[in-house]
């Protein structure tokens, strides 16, 4: 009898696992189950669709024929409601039971709602799926004024969408700068200026106390905790994700924020694996448990999980994640874990060029590059090699920094 693999989630993590399993286990039975009504698409390009810059077609990655061609049983519009690890089976919302030899949970997260009045009103949007993107596009095209909440990587997508669709927007931030956990004011100001140029005004020391709605229940204003009222016919909220672990509540599977896995993507139950945004994995580079929320990392975790589902221990996940912002005429890249660490070094290296490197125990663990991405490979290499750079941190700020500079100075 051939092995049967069941994958829950057809995002990039689940889909890359399916691809790898099919390549390496040609006779296996593979089932992919997704709550969404469409098969794998490019989640990191749906913002371009909402901006009106990209048609739908190039966003699809696997059309349904891909699953037929690869002999993968795809179940769309199917929510898994229960996992029964004692009996190696899952149950769907329609009451169907599907048994597995090995299970992969690639179930990602769901955007959080603001815990305020009218947070679910018409015109208040969250952003995760292609369906969300279609609604956002429709709503933003009719809007004149917008409000954005959530000073992080997804919030800035809403800012770019408003900018591209000529919606005048206020970007309400609780602190005094965008992504204050990874950037200092100096770096953030480059981003603020880019937003302003697109008609999006950052408002600091603000946030949302409640939304006001019109008689039809459509959002018409956001009121901040200072009592300031910002009229809007569109609101974008991106304050974080809840990881989709509810279906595991009555199981012995270890969860924290996400599903806890080792560096082989295996949970505490031998034949259950997890991959992608949902994992809290053992990061061999950082030396502790971590979470990534990026496309490249999710794809790699799916591939690694598949290898280890076939042969546990065959390949660990060793990866420096990165995430770029490509909305402006200068590039932005964050890598590794820029919000962690016990030390950091930062510099403006040229006009409009800024970088910050986060360090832990004298080692590079992440950072942010604005304007000049040329040191990205060098910094990622230092992370992978776990190089001790204490005493030489200023060298990291040199405009043409390369790893060899460090070797030379170490040898001196």
């Amino acid at each position: 009898m051939s092995d049967s693999y069941v994958i829950v989630g057809d995002g990039i993590a689940g889909a890359s696992a399916a691809e790898t399993l099919r390549e390496e286990a040609p006779d296996a039975e593979i089932t992919v189950i997704t709550e969404e009504g469409e098969s794998l698409y490019n989640r990191i390009l749906i913002k371009e669709f909402a901006k009106g810059k990209l048609p739908e077609a190039p966003i699809s990655i696997h059309d349904e024929s891909w699953y037929d061609d690869h002999d993968v049983d795809l179940r769309l519009n199917t929510l898994v409601v229960d996992v029964d690890v004692e009996n190696d089976a899952i149950r769907t919302h329609e009451g169907e039971t599907i048994e597995y030899d090995s299970l992969l949970l690639a179930i990602g997260g769901t955007p959080q709602q603001l815990p305020v009045e009218n947070a679910d009103a018409e015109g208040v949007h969250h952003f995760w799926t292609f369906q969300d993107a279609r609604k956002i596009k429709e709503s933003v095209e009719d809007a004149d004024r917008g409000v954005i909440v959530g000073a992080g990587l997804l919030g800035i997508d809403f800012a770019a969408i408003c900018g591209a669709q000529d919606v005048e927007a206020k970007y309400l931030m609780r602190g005094d700068s965008w992504w204050r956990y990874a950037l200092s004011n100096e770096g953030a100001e480059i981003m603020h200026e880019a937003m302003r140029e697109r008609g999006v005004e950052p408002v600091f020391g603000s946030g949302v106390d409640h939304f006001e709605v019109d008689d039809d229940g459509h959002v018409e204003a956001a009121v901040d905790p200072n009592g300031e009222r910002y009229e809007c016919d569109f609101a974008g909220v991106a304050i974080g994700l809840d990881f989709n672990t509810e279906i595991l509540e009555d199981t012995p599977l270890e969860t924290d924020d996400g599903i806890v896995v080792d560096e082989y993507m295996r949970t505490n139950v031998d034949n259950v694996f997890a991959a992608g945004d949902i994992t809290e994995f053992y990061d061999t580079i950082l030396g502790e448990r971590a979470q990534n929320g990026a496309w490249g990392s999710a794809k790699e975790q799916g591939t690694i999980a598949a290898h280890n589902m076939i042969d546990h221990g065959s390949e660990p996940f060793e990866w420096v994640s990165s995430y770029s912002i490509t909305h402006f005429d200068f590039p932005f890249l964050s890598f590794g874990h820029p919000t962690l660490g016990d030390d950091s070094v930062e510099a403006t290296t040229d006009e409009g060029e800024w970088r910050r490197v986060a360090l832990k125990d004298g080692r590079v663990i992440g950072g942010v590059l604005i304007g000049d991405l040329s040191p990205q490979s060098a910094f990622k290499q230092l992370m992978r090699e776990k190089r001790d750079v204490s005493g030489q941190r200023e060298l990291l700020m040199e405009p043409g920094f390369s790893v060899d500079d460090l070797v030379a100075s170490t040898e001196h």
Partner: protein, 71 residues
Amino acid sequence: MAFREEGRQMRLRRTGSVPPDARVRHYDELAEASQVAVAELADRPRTAPESADLEDGDVVKFTDYYRIRAR
């Protein structure tokens, strides 16, 4: 996998419109070496060896939309 000629050089051209049948790649989907090449070639009259995960005609979303020409 499409047949790939050895030794081809690629360059990037800004493109105003994206054909519906083009393969569009976001910068974050690319392998590290291709990311380095794209950041290096964008808006510069330079060429670099063709990357393994980019093909002639691909469109890359970086700070703008760029079309890959590999010859």
